[in-house]
């Protein structure tokens, strides 16, 4: 049997084996994760708690906030002129 053929068989066995083992482990880990998260976090309604202050703490690089700021200023000025 040629060297390449031996290598190929090794690779097939090792490769397909790893794929199956990896995804099997992933099935288990995913189920565990979902179980844990559903048990401990669902009641708190994560969508809300996860972003407590999205509007209050973004960086300089957020133009929406700057736009909102400048709109607010404009309004403020108009109200006071």
């Amino acid at each position: 049997m040629s060297d390449v053929l031996t290598q190929a068989i090794d690779l097939v066995v090792y490769g397909m084996g790893t794929v199956v083992v990896f995804l099997t482990v992933l099935v288990g880990a995913t189920m565990l994760m979902s179980y844990v998260l559903q048990t401990f976090f669902t009641t708190e309604s994560p969508e809300v708690t996860l972003r407590p202050s999205a509007a209050a703490s973004e960086g300089l690089t957020d133009p929406k906030i700057l736009a909102a700021l400048s709109a607010a200023v404009k309004k403020y000025r108009e109200d006071h002129n």
Binding site: I9, V25, L26, T30
Partner: protein, 355 residues
């Protein structure tokens, strides 16, 4: 050779064969074969795109990040067992690798182990993964491998249904599946990190591909960097796709492409798709034997990847058997599982054959 470029453009424009890739690839292929000017070699602009984006691996990794940012793992998380289907369908990759080596044994063609691995990855039915692996293991075959991968992905609606009908009974195709549960945002946020952790432990060689993929997905799901996620899914992936396609086209020069190996690659790639489809379905049937919660074996075919085409095909064939049978979301699970599975396989191939 220019005719092949025109053929690819025709298929892309007129038949809608993966146009986002095949228009740039086909056009790049034409440019590369214009005699009397160096566009795809030396200082030529397409060769520069190739050198900066594919030799380095950057373009396929960035595309994969974009694909991650477009992927919704919800259906997979709602039914994690469909990951087995994504695993089984990767057998197409390894069977094809064996096929390429067997061809070498017969003396008909001659492929090294690295070349055989690069050909096998066509069976992964995932464009950026195929280009990344081919760029690392067999750059001289990249043109044929990319063309095969995208063409067969476009042909999924023709290739898969006969195999699906052959391997399933009418009553199996009629199986209705239970409604998927809602998946919470926090599960979607933790999943890419969990996946990356397992990759780090078990197949670190797949970490560049799956790392970028998980990063894109985390940007999407975290909800705090929407502007980065939006740009990744739009401007960035589009720009990269254009240059990736042109760079792949630079590998369609006649002297590299019009060789017997290309024919072998096209045939082997087709075999890979068929085997992957079949093993996906058979795994689904095996799971039905072992579990009481029946799944429709058609969704096993979606395990090859070819997102979202293969899932749509499963849905369509399912509807033919049972007009109330909506398999689309159920098939999205194995569909994205197939992306993970072939990226894992890619990591192993690169580690094993790239040394």
């Amino acid at each position: 050779m220019i005719c092949i470029g025109v053929l690819l453009l025709y298929l892309a424009i007129s038949k809608n064969f993966e146009p986002l890739l095949l228009v740039p690839i086909g056009f790049g292929g034409i440019l590369s074969n214009i005699p009397g000017v160096d566009i795809a070699v030396g200082e030529g602009v397409l060769h520069q795109f190739y050198a900066m984006g594919i030799e380095t691996g950057i373009f396929p990794l960035v595309i994969f990040m974009g694909v991650g940012a477009m992927t919704d793992f919800g259906p997979l998380l709602a039914n994690p067992k469909t990951l087995f289907l994504g695993a089984a369908a990767q057998f197409g990759i390894f069977a094809t690798l064996m096929g390429a080596v067997a061809l070498t044994e017969t003396g008909l063609l001659e492929f090294s182990i690295a070349e055989a691995a690069a050909i096998g990855i066509i069976g992964g039915a995932d464009g950026p993964t195929a280009i990344y692996v081919a760029g690392q293991l067999a750059p001289h075959l990249l043109g044929a491998i990319a063309v095969a991968a995208y063409s067969y992905m476009a042909l999924v609606p023709l290739i898969q249904p006969p195999i699906m009908r052959l391997l399933t009974t009418e009553s199996e195709r009629k199986i209705e599946m239970t409604q998927l549960r809602e998946v919470s945002q926090i599960e979607k946020i933790v999943f890419p990190l969990l996946l990356l952790t397992l990759v780090a432990f078990f197949v670190p060689s797949a970490a560049p591909l799956l790392g970028m993929f998980c990063f894109g997905n985390l940007m999407r799901e975290s909800g705090v960097v929407d502007r980065l996620s939006d740009t990744t899914q739009n401007a960035l992936i589009n720009i990269t796709t254009i240059f990736l396609g042109l760079a792949v086209g630079s590998k369609l020069r006649a002297e590299q492409f019009l060789v017997p190996e290309t024919l072998g690659i096209l045939v082997l790639g087709m075999v890979a798709f068929c085997i992957g489809t079949a093993t996906g379905i058979l795994m689904a049937k095996l799971m039905n034997l072992l579990s009481s919660q029946k799944i429709n074996p058609l969704i096993g075919a979606a395990g090859v990847s070819a997102v979202p085409m293969a899932a749509r095909v499963a849905n369509k064939v399912g509807l033919e058997a049972n007009p109330h049978n909506f398999l689309l979301m159920h098939a999205m699970g194995p569909n994205v599982a197939g992306v993970i599975g072939s990226a894992v396989a890619a990591g192993i191939l690169i580690m094993f054959a790239g040394g």
